[in-house]
Each structure stands twice: as C-alpha cells, then as structure tokens.
C-alpha cells in the first residue's frame, strides 16, 4: 500500500494537505483534505483520484495558487511488486 501526502504551502505560511492510499497506480481512491482547504477551488478539491491524477492536480494547484508543492510518499504498490 502506498500512502502519499501532498502539501501546498502558501507564502503566508498556511498550508493544505491532500492524503490518499493506493493499492495500485490504477485505483481511484478517496482523497482526504485538511488544513486551509478553503483556499483550494472546489472544482480542484478532488473527492477521489488515482495516484497520477492527484499529483498532476496538486502540482498544477501549486503553480496557479502561488504555493510551494511538496509530495511525500511511504510504502509501495504491493499489487505490482515483482
């Protein structure tokens, strides 16, 4: 299981976290949001996503909102392990 946490840190120090856990890179799983979530447009606040989509959206949000984007992951895709 891979757990990934994306953090957007705004220049004023506030931050938003998006966390999700994936069994496989193709799974669509719930995303939990925390922190100053009101600073993220609702259309971009994904309720669920796969690992690639979540990364693309958070990276893009960092650019458009002027926030620093950081991704920390733990674990592995057991389903695809060789």
């Amino acid at each position: 299981m891979l757990t990934t946490v994306h953090t957007l840190t705004f220049p004023d120090g506030e931050s938003v976290q998006a966390r999700a856990s994936f069994e496989s890179p193709q799974d669509r799983v719930p995303v939990s949001w925390s922190g100053s979530v009101e600073r993220v447009p609702t259309t971009s606040r994904l309720a669920s996503a796969d690992v690639g989509l979540l990364r693309v959206v958070l990276k893009r949000l960092g650019l458009t909102l002027g926030a620093e984007w950081n991704e920390v992951s733990e674990g592995s895709f057991d389903f695809w392990a060789e």
Partner: protein, 163 residues
C-alpha cells in the same frame, strides 16, 4: 504482469480476438461478455471495473505501439530520449525493485520504465500505454490532466497514431 492484465488477456483469448486481424462486432460482443464474468481475482484482489477498463486501454496501446508503423515507434523513442536525456536508469519506487527506468516529469513514474532487453536505446514502451490510459478517465479527470503542459505534450505525441 498485473493480474487484471492476465484477466484481460484471458478475456481476449476467450472472445477469439487475434492480434493482427480485424476485429468483428461478434468478437467485441464476446469480449464484453467475458469481461462481465465473475472471477476469483476480483474477490481476492479487489480488481475493480475501473482498473480493468484502464488495463484494457493500457494493453491495447502496447499492441498498437508494437504492431504499428515504424515512424510511430521512432516518434515515441525520440520523445522518450529527448525528455530523459542525461538521466540515469534508477529503481522506480514505489514499484518493486525490478522496475527500473527514467523518472523525468511523467504524470506517473511507470511511464519512464525501461527494460533490460532495450540495451542503450530505450523504446519508451510504457509511454503509449500509460498515456492512452488517460482516455479511460471520466471527462473532468481527463480535463485536469490535459491542463498540465507536461502531460499534454506527451499525450499529443502518443495520440499521433490516430491522426
């Protein structure tokens, strides 16, 4: 290989579809029926319909890339080379230790996978597969990915086989 890919391969075999041959509507119906069958993998490995659909796009893109025209294979190889120039081949965590490749800025790291049999010139085998998969996403998700310039650059190249 992914278990859902094996499941898909079995469904393809059951439907009578043969790579390299034109597919009939009867065979496509048979494939759809095969994919609807209950299977033990689904119960034990939580293989979802979404994953099977993505896998179908993934594996179909491999077939298109492998059996397609030389210019397409060269286009993919050239794009892979250009994007990953100077990068070392490394373990692509969080995949298993046997999964190695070039990380670049792919939307998902597996797209940069290389294989031992490619020697010094990687073909970018997982580019068509990983990016064709995006077409299986619901429209809002596809729009999100399309809005990323890095994704769009590669996706447009991968889709050149259609236009």
């Amino acid at each position: 290989m992914d278990r859902s890919a094996r499941l898909l391969n079995k469904a393809l075999a059951d439907s009578g579809i043969t790579p390299g041959k034109a597919v009939t509507w009867r065979e496509m119906d048979a494939l759809k029926q095969a994919l609807r069958k209950p299977n033990p993998v689904k119960a034990t490995e939580a293989v979802t319909r979404v994953r099977i659909r993505r896998t179908f796009y993934h594996e179909a893109a491999h077939w298109v890339h492998r059996e397609g025209p030389k210019w397409y294979q060269e286009l993919i190889r050239a794009h892979f080379e250009a994007r990953t120039q100077g990068e070392a081949v490394v373990h692509l965590a969080p995949y298993g230790p046997g999964t190695r490749g070039k990380k670049d800025r792919w939307y998902e790291i597996y797209a940069g996978r290389t294989y031992d049999w490619e020697r010094s010139r990687p073909d970018g085998v997982e580019l068509p597969s990983r990016y064709f998969e995006l077409l299986s996403l619901p429209s809002p998700d596809l729009a999100h990915t399309w809005n990323d310039p890095d994704v769009r650059e590669t996706l447009l190249i991968v889709l050149r086989i259609l236009f």
